[in-house]
């Protein structure tokens, strides 16, 4: 709670901004400007924001190159699907999210303790392997209905719920980054040996970031399952991990604002390109290559939008 108190003023400001955005969307839905098509786009963007901020925490702030985000997302999604099909109430849905998060945390600890000793690309390939193992296990279990996947999942994740969850997870992640823990993981990222010589248990903090990222991915997975109502193991393959990675890198590794912006840009781009059929992915690929070649550090680099800085510059201008 100390963390929250220190940044209370800014958190309140963010809360006001988020509430205003919520009412804006609400009014647009009621007026009818946002139809179900746009609502679908918005919810996808919001779920991608949760996924991307979680992965950005692991890659951009803890410096651990993980390619296994979709595996934890799958755990959350299947937890939500299985539990809500048995307990078809809102309470059951909340319970399923909690269960998904707990299983994802356990899985992240099991995966993380051995693999986080690896570095760089070796870690990436090991986490990718771990996520694939999770997917293949789901693919072969009875309770998950095998490769066919699950359908008719009750829809409890309406857009306001997804929006609020996105706000909460983002606030938690950002506050973690701005806390002592966040500074520790960034020191581990910048120089692991130096951090270790300052008495930091680097393994524990790398694991902490990894577990927090995995937990948010599980939440996103639960929302995904409940909103779309159908899931299959192949939705959570390597390509899903890669598309989350694309959002993170496109926005700028180490910039939460960038992840949000990139999720919005890609979501809108995807919706616009829907009319192009097969050509859609070709255009998407070319856009991706061009952005990377001309803006290698991502759209925003490591720049972060901060209400604190905004206040400071306003104050300076007044004086």
């Amino acid at each position: 709670m100390i963390i929250l108190k220190a940044n209370l003023k800014y958190n309140v400001c963010w809360f006001i901004v988020m509430a205003a955005a919520f009412y804006l969307v609400n009014i647009l839905v009621m007026v009818g400007i946002i139809d179900s098509f746009i609502e679908n786009m918005l919810v996808t963007i919001w779920i991608n924001v949760i996924l991307a901020t979680g992965l950005n925490l692991i890659i951009g702030f803890a410096g651990q190159f993980s390619l296994g985000h979709a595996g934890f997302m799958a755990i959350g999604a299947y937890a939500a699907a299985i539990i809500t099909q048995q307990v078809d109430t809102v309470g059951g849905f909340y319970l399923s999210l909690v269960v998904g998060v707990i299983i994802a945390i356990i899985a992240a600890v099991i995966v993380g303790i051995p693999t986080l000793r690896l570095k760089g690309d070796y870690l990436a390939i090991a986490t990718m392997g771990a996520a694939e193992i999770i997917r293949i296990i789901i693919n072969n279990l009875k309770i998950t209905n095998g490769p066919a996947g699950m359908f008719n999942i009750p829809q409890f994740a309406t857009w306001p719920f997804v929006y609020i969850t996105m706000c909460v997870t983002t606030i938690v992640v950002v506050n973690f980054i701005n806390s002592r823990g966040g500074r520790i993981i960034m020191s581990v990222r910048d120089d692991e040996i130096a951090a270790e010589s300052m008495g930091i248990n680097t393994t524990r903090w790398k694991l902490a970031a990894f577990v927090l990222g995995a937990a948010t991915a599980a939440i996103a997975g639960g929302l995904h399952a409940s909103y779309l109502q159908t899931i299959a193991p192949n939705d959570f393959g390597i390509m899903e991990s890669i598309s989350i990675l694309i959002i993170v890198v496109l926005g700028g590794v180490g910039s939460i604002t960038g992840s949000v912006v990139a999720a919005v840009v890609l979501g809108v781009l995807d919706t616009i390109l829907q009319d192009f059929g097969t050509l859609r992915m070709v255009i998407y690929a070319v856009a991706l290559i061009l952005i990377m070649v001309f803006k290698p550090s991502g759209l925003l680099g490591t720049w972060e939008f901060s209400i604190r800085r905004l206040f400071a510059s306003l104050k300076r201008r007044k004086v």
Binding site: T115, D121, A124, I133, I136, T278, V282, S297
Partner: protein, 292 residues
């Protein structure tokens, strides 16, 4: 016992394909530290080129193989020039995303131009099965194994004894020092891409012959498997990539033969993780100690 040897033969055939692909990954990684995600799609290009020339120009196996190697080598150089060269000094993760972009581009470009349905690869080599002590081996399998071994041997000779091979090794050890002694790194890197992509092209034609079916997305899974093979062997090491490829191929077929085919990929990844935990840089990888 017979089934075991049978599976070993099948595993070696599949493994030689993985090994050829893994060599491309490992060479490119060794020289510019890039995971070339588009490598599996070069292999797909090779298979499609083979399909085209055999059907339209009636090439025989050798001609199709060699022309696919040339075409794929060329496309590797072009991809390197336009997509990777501008990013030589950017963060590595950016180059990785660009490689993924190139991979999407090739897959979907081919699907757009030629349709995404699978097609039969023309069987130019008539399949003949030999029976050696109860173990069945087809001439196609022998051909694949022999071609792969010859190509790997040739590659080893090029890397060991030619001027360009020496330049490749020099650039992969220290790019700046290599420039000081008069090596053109751009040319060397292009050459590396050409070599790696040519091997992938050869693998593409051979897999077409072996599995008899090709489609624009065929490169994705073998590409990732081959990368796993390269990592298992110690990425950056040429003999490691060959060994890793054969190892993964054997493992996959053996797991499949004991009736766990649903878990064959999972077993591959478990082995990968276990090997990385025991040998964090793979079987032949160099362990670089960090100095403070």
């Amino acid at each position: 016992m017979q089934t075991f040897f049978q599976q070993v033969i099948n595993g070696l055939s599949l493994g030689s394909i993985y090994a050829l692909l893994a060599l491309g990954y490992t060479m490119v990684y060794g020289i510019i530290k890039l995971i070339n995600f588009a490598h599996g799609d070069i292999y797909m290009l090779g298979a499609f080129w083979g399909y085209y020339v055999i059907n339209v120009w009636h090439f025989n196996f050798i001609a199709a193989l060699l022309s696919a190697m040339v075409i794929c080598g060329l496309s590797g150089v072009i991809i390197e020039y336009f997509a990777y060269r501008p990013l030589r000094h950017s963060p590595r993760i950016t180059a990785l995303i660009t490689a993924i972009g190139v991979s999407f581009f090739l897959e979907n470009g081919m699907a757009y131009l030629f349709g995404s349905n699978a097609r039969d690869f023309p069987q130019i080599v008539k399949q003949v099965n030999y029976n050696i002590g109860g173990v069945r081996i087809s001439n196609i399998q022998i051909q694949i194994l022999a071609t792969a071994c010859i190509l790997m041997l040739l590659l080893q000779l090029i890397i060991r004894y030619t001027k360009m091979g020496r330049a490749m090794r020099a650039v992969s050890v220290d790019n700046d020092a290599a420039q000081l002694v008069g090596i053109n790194p751009n040319l060397t890197i292009s050459f590396t891409f050409a070599l790696g992509s040519a091997l992938a092209g050869a693998a593409g034609v051979m897999i077409g012959l072996y599995y008899n079916s090709i489609d624009p997305l065929m490169g994705m899974t073998p590409g990732i498997k081959a990368f796993v093979a390269a990592v298992v062997g110690g990425i950056g090491s040429v003999p490691g990539a060959s060994l890793g490829g054969f190892l993964i191929g054997l493992l996959e077929t053996l797991v499949q033969s004991v009736g766990l085919s649903a878990y064959k990929d999972a077993v591959v990844y478990v082995v990968l993780i276990v090997i990385l935990l025991i040998l964090p840089t793979g079987i032949f990888g160099k362990n670089v100690k960090e100095k403070v």
